[in-house]
Each structure stands twice: as C-alpha cells, then as structure tokens.
Amino acid sequence: MRAPRRAEEAKAGGFAEEERSRIATVADVLIPAWGNLPSASTAGVVGSLLEKALRARPDLAESFARSVANLPETPTSETVQDLIERDYESYLTILTLLLGAYYMSDAVKGALGYSGQEALRIDVGALPAYYEEGLLEEVSKRGPIYRQAPADTI
C-alpha cells in the first residue's frame, strides 16, 4: 500500500524535516527569487527535484548530506560567504546539486524561456543568410590569407 503523500514528501531525498528546512533556507540564499524567476524553495527544489539531482549524481550524496548537516539551523548570506572561504568543496557540492535541481523545474525553465536541449530537424532546403546575401563572396574577393612555405624548405 502506498504511504500517504505527506509522509512521502517528508522523506524526499532521505532528509528529515529539520534538514529539509535547512536545505530550503540555504537554497533560497543561493537561489533567491529574481524578476520572474522563483526562489529555489518556491520552485520546489527540496523535494522530487533534489531527488532527481541526487539520482543523477549519487557520488555527491554523502558529501551533500554531511555539508548540510554542518550548516547552522538558519543559513544566511554570511553562512555562504563563510563556507566559500572555509570549505569551498562543500559550497560547490551544495550549489551544484541545488542548481541542478532548480534548472530541472518546469516553472524555472518556463521563466527562463529554456526549452531544454531539443532535437530539431535540419531544413535541407534552407539556404543560410550568409550564402543568400553573398557574404562569402566578399571573403573570397579579399583573396588567400594563408602563407606558403619558403620555396627552399619544400
């Protein structure tokens, strides 16, 4: 039988509620709301997105958990500055996973206008503008730009 949804969420990423709160706080310091971009917690980073990021990067799971555990209960900008100076690897681990999770959010991608890496079909009938406008001919008219070797070296 499936567990109730709230209990499932509480276990997201294997983190206890207190840790999730700490992650959400540091995530919002690192990735605040800006313009039409949501903050990390509003984008739902601390949940299934973080799980996805951790599945993609299992090598970071242990160091992420340790780094988060070493943060104060309510991380601030000063906390991040201190982490950068004191333990840059932990800072990079936290930032990488949270950003990786953030940019997998549909809401964030929508706000950025980022559609992801799509497969596009090349239009074989389309001629590039540089060709249609004769831009290449101008390059050709300027003549060769390569240097030949001195004759006695060949």
């Binding site: 990488t96 206008g113 980022y114 799509e118 497969a119 090349i122 590039p128 730009i145 070797a149």
Partner: protein, 532 residues
C-alpha cells in the same frame, strides 16, 4: 589470439583509422583498448540531467570522471588539465568534432617565424589524406576557403548557423576580417548510415543520434566487419621487445585482471599524447634503459595542449543559444599568422559555439560559479542571449613541458601513472590576450552590448600533442616522417604524439590524416618490414 600482422594499442581516432585501412589492405589486425564500447543510448544529452552528469560521469577530465577505464594523471605541476575519453572511439566520443586543418605555414614554423621546428612534410603532401579523411568521417563544410589552398569540397554541406552568426559574418566583412562556415565532422545530412545532426548542442557529452564522426560510428563497424579483432577492457602496460630490439607485442591486463601477452609482427601506438609516452617510458628494458624508442631523450617531452580562451558576447536579441552543434558554426583564421607588430609569434583559430544550458552558464565556463542575485542576473542575461568565440592558440613546443612517470601514483592495475609538467608560456599568454581583444571587437561590431572574456581556461587540455615528435634526425626526434620509431623498426606511433608543432587548430583532422598516411606507407612497404 595468434600472432597478427599488426597490434594497435588504442581504439580512438588514429587507432580506428589504421585498423580500418589495414583490414582493407588484407592485414590481420588486433586492437587492445583499455575502455569499453559505449551505447549511444547511454548519453544524457536528451535528458534534463545532462549538465549534472556532464560534471561527473561525462566529464572530459579523467581525474574527475574516474571511470573504470580511466587512469589517474598527476597534474599538480600543470597549468592545464589534460582531457581524454578512454573507450572505443577514444576522445572522439566526447570531442566537439571541429575539423579544421593545419595551415600550410604550420609545417614550416622554423623557416617562416624562426621558432620551434619545421615538420618533415608539407601541407601539400598531407592534403590528399585530409580529403579522404573528410569523406571517411563525414565532414560538413564549404570549399573555397581563402585560409587554405584550393582542394576538394567537404562531402557534406555546412551545418545551419544561428542568425546571430550571420550578424557576425556581416561584422567581419565590415572589418575586412576572415570568416568561413565551420568545418565539423558532424553529418548535416544522412550519410553512410548515420543520421543527420539534430542541433541538440550536446556533442561534447556524446552524440546519441550518431551524427557526430566519432570513430565508434565512422570506422569501427567497418573495421570489425573486415576482421579486425577489437579487445576491450585490455589495459596495456608494456611493449615487449626481443634481443634484436624489435617489438614482439604488448603485455596487458584484461577486464578480469588477468595478465596476458599479445604477440604481433608490428605494433602501432595510438594511445594519445599522454598514453603513448607513458607506455614507451613504462617499456624500459636492458636494451632500452631510458624507455622504448627514447634514444633522443624526447619521449614525453614537448607536450603541447593548446591554451584555450573564450569570449562570450551578450546580445539584446533572443534565440535558443543552447541549441546548435558544438561544433563550430563559423571559424575565423584572420589572426592565424604572425602579425608584423605583435609581441608574440604565431596565432589562433576562432570557432563560434553555442554557450550551453543554464547550469553551465551558472557555474561559469572557465570562471567561478556565482550565487544569489548575481547568479540569477548572470543566467538571465546570458541564456538565450549569448554566443562564444572559442580561441585555440598555437602552443610552441618546450622540452620542459613533459609527460613523465609518477613515482607514487598508480592506476587501478598498479601501473605507474603519468605525471604532467606543463606551464603556459609567455608567448601563449600574450597571444591569447591579443586574440581575446580582437574577438571582443568582433562581437561588439556584430551588436553585442557586452563581452565576457576568459583569456585562459584551465580545464581545456583536449589536445595532447608532441610527446613523440616526428623528424628525419634520430637525435632530435622519436619517429620518422612515417611514424616509425627510429630505434625500433617495427614500432609506429600514429596519434597526436607525432606533432612537431601544435598549430592553432583542433588537431583531429590532422591526427586522422597522419594516421592514414602512416598506415598506407606501412602497407606499401610490407615486404621490407622488419618483424621479430
């Protein structure tokens, strides 16, 4: 396996070219490759986690990736991190597939500019092999480029370019500067069973479409069909020799950790500019106490890795800056030759590239990652609004830039790891600064409101060159003009180690052409070939 005619060590660009051509010539060939085959379905380019996995599982740096097939490289005394992929296809699995050739002057650097050394061959000698390699790899591009002598058209038309590239082309015409549609070993049309490029922009993390000319797609299927035996998970640690100083084969550890020996009449080293000197140095013996084929003392020396810089242009206009081929849409050779008033010699090629997805932008390609509002501002300004000139500067050879064997570090089989000593020269630094300024002018002229310059990027040692240079004089070169070791008559080096100078372009077109040339020479001289 019984004794084949030829043993090739390494299944990357040069190994694949040689294997296929030898098999076509009726040779019995075995190839030992320390890595595995990669299923194109394993690449992550089509998935949302492609950038996250690109920082680890598909990282270009073996010290970061740490896959089973990788060996560690000691880099604490190197300004640039060497990059490679170990597996069938070698580094072509993750290369950008930019396919420019060396220019004619690159073969005569000493004669023209008074530095480094001339090659023992000319552009004209190599041109037919370039043209045949273009066909084998399925190169897209356009002939008539005034940066090169006339020759055959590439087999496929150029790949599409974003509209901003047309703006840059117009800008260069206003400036009177060279530009040309980029040469790429990426299929712009269906080609020999390969599908055309889908412009996903993730070429350097593996091409799931099979459009990119990695040799697991372009050469190995034919080579194996013709009978080449390709053994994967086979890590060579010694080239063995007999009392006459001829190579007898190679000792290797198989994928189950069993030590084996593969005999051969001829051995070809195709293990890249770090792996090849590592193996030669590991193969010291009573006959060759300083390493195999090292009478000149130059094995491992003159390492060149092409210091690389970038200039990103930010534009008000919006387009899908993360799509396209990576790859180059345009290239410029405007400042490729030594300038009359420059405070450096030689030059660089520029390649116009997309700028990647949001995580890459946030983490700062070659720069520092940022956070907070600065992060949000950076990504909003760049994603969908930017394009990049990648600048590859000529890297002059210096004997103090070298691959040696580390005294402590070993790989997972206990084999001594390579140690890199490499310092970026003052010439390279001045060259890249000059080019970054010119590339900024290019982008501003095209309408960029701002440029972001990273003159040198540490993690960009894609091109591993020069560590077993060719030449006519055995005292000042490791191999002859055909890649045959001066000291060991049945040992050939066919990878980027051969390079006398680096040029200022991506080297795989030249590596492939040289490998084809060396292989055909071996075939033509098969009757006189010394064997153990």
């Amino acid at each position: 396996m019984s004794r084949p005619d030829v043993l090739i060590i390494g299944a990357g660009a040069s190994g694949a070219v040689a294997a296929k051509r030898l098999a076509e010539g009726g040779f019995d060939v075995v190839c030992l490759e320390q890595g595995q085959r990669t299923d194109p379905g394993a690449y992550r380019g089509a998935y949302p986690d492609w950038e996250l996995t690109g920082l680890k599982q598909w990282n270009w740096d073996p010290n970061v990736r740490q896959a089973d097939a990788d060996y560690p490289v000691e880099v604490s005394e190197s300004d640039i991190d060497p990059l490679m992929f170990n597996g069938v296809g070698g580094s072509t699995v993750q290369f950008a597939a930019q396919w420019p050739r060396l220019a004619p002057s690159d073969f005569h650097v000493r004669s023209l500019d008074g530095v480094a050394d001339d090659w023992p061959l000319t552009y004209e000698e190599l041109q037919p092999y370039y043209e045949r390699s273009d066909v084998d790899f399925g190169v897209s591009g356009m002939g008539g480029d005034p940066a090169y002598p006339p020759g055959a058209e590439p087999p496929l038309p150029p790949l599409p370019v974003p509209d901003v590239a047309n703006e840059i082309a117009r800008a260069h015409n206003r400036l009177g500067w060279h530009w040309w549609p980029g040469y790429n070993a990426i299929a712009s049309r269906s080609y020999r069973g390969r599908r055309p490029c889908v412009q996903r922009g993730t070429c350097a993390w593996g091409c799931g479409e099979g459009a990119k000319g990695s040799t697991d797609q372009t050469h190995w299927p034919d080579a194996e069909r013709l009978g080449v035996k390709l053994a994967t998970g086979a890590r060579v640690y010694e080239i063995t020799v007999n009392g006459r100083g001829l190579a007898t084969g190679a000792a290797y550890v198989d994928h189950e950790g069993v030590h084996r020996h593969q005999e051969a009449s001829v051995v070809m080293l195709a293990a890249n500019g770090i792996g090849t000197p590592r193996l030669l140095l590991l193969s010291s013996s009573a006959h060759f106490p300083d390493g195999l084929a090292n009478r000149s003392g130059l094995v491992g020396k003159r390492l060149m890795m092409h210091p690389f810089g970038t200039v990103i242009g930010l534009f008000d206009r919006r387009w899908a800056s993360w799509q396209g081929h990576w790859g180059q849409s345009l290239q410029s050779m405007q400042f490729y030759e030594t300038g009359p008033s420059a405070d450096f010699v030689r030059g660089a090629k520029w390649g116009l590239q997309p700028t990647g997805g949001p995580l890459g932008v946030a983490m700062g390609f070659g720069g520092d990652p940022v956070w907070g509002e600065e992060l949000q501002e950076r990504v909003s300004k760049s994603l969908g609004h930017s394009i990049m000139w990648g600048i590859i500067g000529e890297d002059l050879p210096d004997e103090s830039n070298a691959v040696t064997l580390d005294s402590e570090l070993v790989d997972s089989d206990g084999v001594r790891a390579p140690r890199i000593h490499y310092r970026v020269s003052g010439n390279s630094t001045r060259l890249l600064e000059f080019h970054a300024e010119r590339a900024s002018e290019s982008l501003i002229e095209a309408g960029a409101y701002e440029t972001i310059v990273t003159p040198q990027v540490r993690g960009t040692g894609w091109h591993l060159l020069g560590t077993a240079r060719m030449g006519d004089d055995p005292e000042s070169s490791v191999v002859d003009r055909w890649g045959r070791a001066h000291d060991v008559g049945n040992l050939f080096v066919i990878d980027g180690s051969l390079f006398v100078t680096s040029g200022g372009v991506n080297p795989t077109a030249t590596i492939s052409a040289l490998a084809l040339r060396a292989t055909e020479h071996l075939i033509s001289r098969r009757k006189g070939q010394a064997t153990p």
